[in-house]
């Protein structure tokens, strides 16, 4: 989520006083007021509205919403002068194929406005730019550049210029290796045989997108009046929209927009502020919102959101990126109508509520076990190899059937294979709690043999515990749910049980779990100083029986 900060004085001068009514309006516009003090107002802008990521963009949309300047905002676009050209060389095709460019003239910059320019750029980089992966924006002082400009790709060692914030010339590769910004974004050019550059008619490099501008030809100062703006990336549609967002903000700051000619095989002029048409039906709008609007009302609401309504369709500004479908316009209608003005209503649709059958059975089992004074615990589904294997007496090498998680940020990096190891972990962590302890857990466990197996299990333990006592509990449970189980001396016992004190739990001739006393060597691994009796069973078979 991106936030914008607005000078409070400027806001109150150009938009209105920040009173309770205004705060409510801001919320009802969908731009949450995150913070404010006497100096600044901080608003949260949702990711579908990058056009509001600057004060200028927010003001434009919000003034319309307040009914002050409704409808589609028009900007004058000047035709390109003679050399206003960007030649796009075919060498960028497989590297960073597209760019959309413009020239803005007559900016009166001060430190505050320069800060604003940089912020627009950075906010767009982070959001629709996907951290410069999808697109990057460059702004350059026109007075330092000789037009026309060429966009091409060169071998990294042939690229040589002084990058911003560096006192010396560096090669393309050196920038990625040594420049702080270069290092941050090096992954975006990694493995490419050539790097993209903008270069002017004097063969001065302007920048190496999406990494960094040149100190000589790519730095805006208070003296700068005219600028060259480019967006480079992979999706020309998005690049054009992004360029429109940037240059209309500049126009709001007093600049004049000039087109540039992009020369590939064909010629194209950017920027293009032709509005986008989307169909809208009054019926669909009323049906989806539950309203009874007439066309005049629809037109008024649509125009409060900065669009133009023509019969049956809407013309949307060329800087809006979020209009994919009629429903996106209908939401705008709803916002303009005011969420607070809708009347909540419950339709008469008769349905019968039902909880999942397995959940009912799990709850019953839990009730039975709490009835014999057991305490339910609830653990993570993720664990680690040390707890799952090493401490359970299974050498890691012997274990193959576990599910590993890629690049976990914590030590929890495999899916738990059983509940037993977690029960022992809890016993081990609770040596200070009063004994006797008696605990159980119901939950999912994860196994794999080519396929992923996800099952519900139940495990219980008594501490200090012995076989007889726990067997009593297990048999009580089996009687209470009326599912007959049988215990047999285990032939192959899991390594954490004592041989001769472990039984297989059998349901319909299938082994569904084990019960027994935990071997001292395992208790030692867990630093447990009390005898533990434990059982774990699969619940899936029991679900089948009971359903």
């Amino acid at each position: 989520m991106a936030n914008i900060k607005i000078n409070k004085k400027l806001f109150e001068k150009e938009i209105g006083k920040l009173d309770e009514k205004m705060k409510n309006k801001i919320a009802m516009f969908g731009t949450a007021l995150e913070n404010f003090d006497n100096e600044e107002i901080e608003l949260e802008i949702f990711p579908d509205r990058p056009d509001m990521l600057s004060y200028q963009g927010f003001k434009r949309a919000f003034l319309a919403f307040l009914g002050k300047k409704t409808g589609l905002k028009k900007y004058k676009i000047n035709k390109p002068a003679k050399d206003y050209k960007v030649i796009i060389d075919s060498s960028v095709k497989n590297i960073r194929p597209h760019t959309a460019c413009a020239i803005i003239k007559g900016l009166k910059l001060d430190n505050y406005k320069i800060k604003e320019l940089i912020e627009i750029q950075e906010k767009l980089h982070i959001t629709i730019g996907r951290k410069r992966k999808k697109l990057a924006i460059g702004i350059y002082p026109l007075e330092k550049i000789k037009l026309p400009i060429t966009y091409k790709a060169l071998e990294p060692d042939k690229i040589k210029f002084i990058p911003l914030e560096m006192g010396r010339e560096m090669s393309g590769l050196q920038i990625l290796q040594r420049h702080p910004t270069g290092k941050d974004y090096a992954h975006l050019l990694a493995g490419k045989s050539k790097f993209p550059i903008f270069i002017d008619a004097n063969q001065n490099i302007l920048s190496m997108p999406p990494i960094i501008n040149s100190q000589l030809t790519g730095k805006i100062t208070k003296e700068t009046k005219d600028v060259f703006v480019e967006c480079s990336g992979f999706d020309l549609e998005i690049l054009k929209k992004c360029l429109n967002i940037v240059i209309t903000s500049f126009a709001e700051m007093g600049g004049n927009i000039y087109q540039m000619e992009l020369k590939t095989n064909k010629k194209e002029l950017t920027p293009d502020l032709t509005p986008e048409k989307t169909k809208i039906s009054l019926d669909n709008t009323n049906k989806l919102l539950g309203l009874k609007l007439n066309e005049k009302q629809l037109k008024k609401l649509i125009e409060k959101m900065g669009h133009e309504y023509k019969k049956g369709f809407v013309e949307s500004p060329a800087w809006r990126t979020d209009i994919l479908h009629e429903v996106d316009l209908i939401e705008d209608v709803a916002i303009a109508y005011g969420y607070e003005n809708f009347i909540p209503e419950i339709p008469e649709i008769s349905t019968i509520g039902k909880e999942d059958k397995k959940e009912t059975i799990k709850r019953k089992i839990a009730e039975i076990l709490t009835g014999v004074k057991m305490l339910e615990i609830s653990n993570y589904h993720l664990t680690n190899k040390k707890d799952q294997f090493t401490k359970m007496g299974i050498p890691e090498k012997k274990e193959k059937d576990f599910i590993e998680i890629e690049e976990s940020k914590t030590e929890y990096n495999i899916m738990r294979k059983d509940l037993t190891s977690y029960l022992l972990k809890i016993v081990s962590e609770n040596a200070d709690s009063e004994y006797p302890q008696s605990i159980f857990e119901i939950g999912k466990i994860f196994n794999t043999n080519n396929k992923i197996i996800e099952n519900e299990n139940l495990a219980g333990a008594t501490i200090p515990g012995n076989f007889t006592e726990l067997k009593q509990i297990l048999e009580y449970l089996s009687r209470m749910i009326n599912v007959e189980i049988e215990l047999k001396e285990a032939e192959e016992i899991p390594p954490h049980y004592i041989d001769g004190r472990c039984a297989e739990i059998i349901l319909d001739e299938k082994v569904i779990g084990h019960i027994g006393e935990i071997h001292p060597k395992i208790l030692r691994n867990w630093k447990i100083k009390m005898p533990v009796a434990l059982f774990e069973i699969e619940l899936e078979k029991i679900f089948e029986k009971l359903e």
């Binding site: 479908h325 890629e406 962590e429 709690s433």
Partner: protein, 507 residues
């Protein structure tokens, strides 16, 4: 009144009452034939019944030590050395030690003590007696003091105090002990009670099964009265984990509203978690650093659905422009730990698409654990609970959504709520539910809602039918109820804590 009091006396209390006038506890023990612990405890009970007042005094007593006892019999080392000198007047040091039979320490201490009293002088490795007969035979302050022991510390005379100080520097001659004495003061009530005579009435203590066999054993008899207010040791019972209690509560709210539960696997294909929900394949939520991936691929559902989803992403469906990129089937097969329960909603919609069009309706909910690749701190964790509901209804609209939300949140106990515009990738229009915090006087974000986009409903349901959807994290509701400040405590299994945890009583 007194009768009730008498009936409440335990056998021990009754036994010692006649001897309350005795000088001290030991005497009471002797007379009553009870041990000291029983007598002390009985006295405390009598005090709570206001029959006696106990006054505990601590006294410091100077007593004779192990060595002191020995010296009392044999004389202090310096006395023994003085005896030796009395005979010889001058004697070499080495010879003096040998003949006196004193240990090294004793010998040194004796020399020191005698020198201090100026009874001897040391000259050229020899001891020279420097006192007259009277001075020699006179008892020293220390000797007198030892003989007077034990004495009370607070009543020492200046001479005794001086002697104590000099003896304290020597090993185990004297020691100071604290002695507690309890003074028993019988109250007015107590005196009346004794006067009236606490007779050894035949009060029944425990009711036993033997007693019940014969009516004569209890008929007409009195039962000793218990002090029903006296504290008893606490116990704890079996209990469901508090998180599961909260989940049952959430589940009941949904079923009360006529919703049917959806459950399903935690490990799902990216197709169900992301693609079917119109989340573009380059969307940041799909990155490894936000989502847990498993290095295994899952099978995709039937070809027709996959093809429709592909088309929806690439060029749109039902009037949508789509995301305009090349959709990769392999990306959709990647296994993830579900990041939300909405994948279950997607599967439910798809299951409904198998039914005739007019039957593709219903109300469903899910409540379960989800995962994200996150570190653990007081407000974050890699596992979290979420709940969500969907309403599939040809005639559903935005006002209905707000109606359901109002009902749902009122049931959850939130009276003052508001709806504000929001953005969620799956819904359009979208709403955020804010709840008013009366103490902080601010609106807090609680949950999200909206109507599923046609890019989701057309491929899954086979038709653009409105699907109202809303959901919210459940951990915060749990933390609010139990006033837990640190999220980690929700996932910790501290048995002592679990035993103390209150039951979920929110209605």
């Amino acid at each position: 009144m007194n009768q009730k009091l008498i009936e409440s006396l335990s056998p021990h209390e009754r036994k010692i009452i006649p001897y309350l006038g005795e000088e001290n506890i030991n005497e009471i023990c002797k007379k009553s034939n009870l041990d000291k612990i029983s007598v002390t405890r009985a006295l405390e009970y009598l005090q709570t019944k206001k029959i006696v007042e106990l006054e505990v005094q601590t006294k410091k007593i100077v007593e004779i030590g192990v060595n002191g006892a020995l010296y009392k019999k044999k004389g202090l080392p310096e006395r023994r050395l003085l005896h030796l000198l009395h005979d010889k007047r001058i004697i070499p040091l080495a010879e003096a030690q040998k003949e006196s039979g004193l240990s090294n320490d004793e010998f040194k201490a004796s020399i020191g003590a005698l020198k201090k009293k100026a009874l001897i002088e040391l000259n050229n490795q020899k001891i020279v007696l420097n006192a007259n007969q009277e001075e020699i035979t006179k008892k020293t302050l220390e000797e007198t003091f030892i003989e007077s022991l034990p004495v009370e510390y607070d009543s020492l005379s200046p001479e005794q105090a001086f002697a104590l100080k000099s003896l304290q520097s020597r090993k185990d001659i004297v020691q100071i002990n604290e002695e507690k004495t309890t003074n028993i003061k019988i109250t007015k009530l107590g005196k009346e009670l004794i006067k009236s005579g606490v007779k050894t009435q035949n009060l029944i203590e425990q009711v036993t099964s033997d007693m019940l066999k014969k009516e004569s054993l209890w008929k007409g008899k009195k039962f000793r009265r218990y002090d029903v207010t006296s504290p008893v040791p606490s116990i704890s019972g079996g209990k469901r984990h508090f998180v599961n209690q909260a989940i049952d509560y959430g589940r009941r709210i949904w079923t009360d509203m006529g919703f049917q539960e959806m459950t399903g696997d935690m490990l799902q294909s990216s197709f169900w978690v992301f693609d079917a929900l119109f989340t573009a394949q380059d969307h940041p939520v799909r990155e490894l650093q936000d989502t847990f991936y498993i290095d295994k691929k899952l099978e995709l559902p039937d070809k027709k659905l996959v093809q429709t989803v592909k088309k929806t992403h690439e060029s749109g469906i039902g009037g949508s422009k789509g995301w305009r990129y090349v959709w990769d089937e392999e990306d959709a097969k990647k296994t993830v730990l579900r990041t939300h329960t909405t994948c279950l909603s997607a599967k439910t919609l798809y299951a409904l698409s198998k039914l005739p069009i007019d039957q593709r309706r219903g109300k469903f909910f899910a409540l379960g654990k989800n995962f994200r690749n996150e570190t653990v701190d007081w407000s974050h964790g890699f596992e979290f609970y979420q709940t969500e509901g969907i309403v599939i209804d040809e005639n559903a609209n935005f006002q209905h959504l707000l109606g359901y939300l109002k009902q749902f949140y009122t049931k959850m106990g939130f009276d003052k709520i508001r709806f504000v515009p929001a953005y969620f990738p799956y819904t359009e229009p979208s709403v955020e539910i804010h709840v008013y915090h009366p103490e902080k006087k601010v609106w807090l974000e609680l949950g999200g809602a909206g109507i599923f986009r046609p890019e989701i409903t057309i491929p899954l349901l086979g038709k653009q039918i409105p699907v109202l959807a809303w959901g919210q994290g459940f951990d915060r509701i749990i933390m609010d109820f139990y006033q837990i400040k640190d999220l980690r405590e929700v996932y910790k299994n501290d048995i002592t804590q679990l035993r103390k945890m209150k039951f979920w009583t929110k209605q």
